[in-house]
């Protein structure tokens, strides 16, 4: 029993990371109908920005929560800026073209970031400093959770609620929803579609960077290709929950994380990556719109 509960804790923390990456995917898709395949690589950049920031701030030698928070904020801001640049130079020129061109551009940006990362950072792994000292907290029944796992959970949940608040309660969120519903009509109502799209990308990139920092904190090995697999799995998580749906992304991420850990713990670790895609196939067969997604008729 305690083993199962421990696995559940492992799964939920791992899943909350997927959820955080999936949020960015789902938000960009919801607004632009674009699968931003470079999202996983922005997650990688977030981890690297935090790596350099924490070295510059000396957060590694003197770990304290204030500095850790600063590292997180710096990394999110830097990744947000990268998101704006990517949108301006890669996606904006093809926004009026077919959806396929945008998708292929996204794959191109992803490859550019990965190989650019190898060029700039080198392909051997770096080790993320311990900007928060790890401590174990026993939960009873032999189950333990580390303070880092708690931080991942809390930060993920906080960012999810922040995002929900921005989208549903603020003016800019209202504009985002309007652009998502009908960009032409939104433009006619005086909404600057370009600005909203840029803002969406910035927000999505910031979420990815936050996920990157949180993962690096817990699993300190970072390298330029670290974003490929989590990016892909978070995409599956977004589809699983219903792409374009914010609570769906969170649910999908958690389901993925738990499924993965349970497969490794009780079946075989060789199926770790396979389970994500098995889930994808199952959901596409059973409920193509995703767990929380609403089926919409395709306009012809």
């Amino acid at each position: 029993m305690s083993e199962f509960l421990q696995q559940l804790v492992n799964g939920v923390t791992w899943g909350s990371v997927y959820a955080l990456i999936a949020l960015g995917y789902t938000m960009v898709y919801g607004i632009l109908r674009l699968i931003n395949f470079a999202h996983g690589d922005v997650y990688m950049l977030g981890a690297f920005f935090a790596y350099f920031a924490s070295r510059a701030l000396g957060a590694a030698t003197d770990p304290n929560p204030g500095k850790a928070l600063l590292v997180l904020v710096i990394s999110m801001l830097a990744a947000g800026a990268v998101g704006i640049v990517i949108e301006r130079f890669a996606y904006k020129p093809v926004r009026k073209s077919s959806r396929l061109s945008a998708l292929i551009t996204a794959i191109g940006v992803s490859l550019l970031l990965e190989n650019g990362g190898i060029l700039v950072f080198g392909s051997d792994p770096k080790f993320f400093p311990q900007i928060i000292t790890a401590r174990n907290i026993p939960l009873g029944l032999g189950v333990t959770i580390s303070n880092q796992q708690i931080i991942i959970l809390v930060v993920s949940l906080a960012l999810m609620f922040a995002l929900r608040f921005i989208v549903l309660q603020t003016r800019v969120g209202k504009a985002m929803r309007a652009v998502s519903y009908n960009p032409t009509a939104a433009a006619l109502m005086g909404i600057s579609v370009d600005r909203i799209v840029t803002f969406t990308f910035m927000l999505g990139s910031m979420l990815a960077a936050a996920a990157g920092v949180l993962v690096a904190l817990q699993n300190p090995k970072i390298e330029p290709l670290m974003g490929i697999m989590p990016g892909l799995k978070a995409f599956v998580a977004a589809v699983l929950g219903g792409i374009g749906n914010i609570p769906g992304a969170v649910l999908g991420g958690l389901v993925m994380g738990i499924a993965e850990v349970m497969v490794v713990g009780y079946v075989s670790p060789t199926y770790r990556d396979a389970i994500a895609f098995v889930l994808l196939i199952v959901i596409l067969l059973v409920r193509p719109a995703g767990i929380l997604g609403k089926a919409t008729a395709e306009k012809v």
Partner: protein
Amino acid sequence: MTSRLLSRLAALAALGFALAGCGGSGSKNEIVIGEYGSLTGNDATFGQSTKNGVELAYQELVANKQGKIGGLPVRIVSEDDQGKAEEAATVVQKLLNQDRVVTVIGEVASSRSLAAAPACQAAQVPMISPSSTNPKVTLVGDYIFRMCFIDPFQGTVMAKFAAQNLKLKKVAILKDVKSDYSVGLTQFFTESFTALGGSVITEQAFSAGDQDFRAQLTAIKAKHPDAIYIPGYYTEVGLIARQARELGLTCPLLGGDGWESDQLIQIGGDALNGAYYSNHFAVDNPDPRLQEFLGRYKAKYGNEPDAIGGLAYDAANVLFQALQKLSETDPETFAGFSSAKAGTDARKAAEKKLRDLIATTTGYPGVTGTITLDENRNAAKPAMVIAIKGGKKVYDSTINP
């Protein structure tokens, strides 16, 4: 139609030029030795240490003999395989066909040595792996050698140490399913440990490159082992150690020579205290040959060498010695190593003689111990058990074959 024919002709002509270019590149009179390893990638220190060890040996050749053997200058060509088996096969093909090397020194990881060895065997060019321990490596053919002990022995060493020195009964294993090294070592450890009266209570697996091992460790924790044997490479081991401690697993961790890297403790930190692993040498061994090597290595590279670097140094010196011997006893055949003779029968004859000389290496005083190759071209050497205490690697005991 004609344009298609023309373009085909053009392609053929281009191919012809390219081939002519290859043949022409080796016209200088020198001995070219190839070295390959993972200079980048997941276990980059393996390749870097190997390169450093070979370079140090070469530097001494330059200092003592102006870098010449039998009147021919020696040149080392290094290639990076990025820690990937398929790249290892590619770069070795390049060394063989483009650089026309006389001998190939390389790889640490057994999976990568196994990927490259068949090409060397087919070309009848000796390949000396400094530190691949999986027994299958030298079984590829009679041109493949190694400078270290093999895993059936290394597995026994840790099994003996666990059963007799640490008095452990129940051990869990966490292995890398994608690595020949890890799978082999798991098998040999299990056989010896059960023969010594212990039991392996659970065997969990991961794949190199994984980040999260908590699921496997949780399953291990539920079985309450006395220790966990992790025959993996240092990057994963460091992460596993940390996550094990986070999950409240306090038992000792045991491992093999794949742990040997100065990055191990940097990654694993305090979580590794109380761990033991089997290795090729211990830096605190007072042996004067070893201490002298450590001093020179430190003077050149600024950091303490690991056993991987020591084995590469020995591999290069064993090769230099064999070449030297051939140049003295049979200068006529030795002339076949000149790069001008690449691809000729003279080169083939020279390679055959060189192979025989390396195979009969007996009692070579290496820095990693005395090297005598057996009939399977493996070196039988004692293994050291290294303990990690207070963030430092400390010599614990020697176990003889």
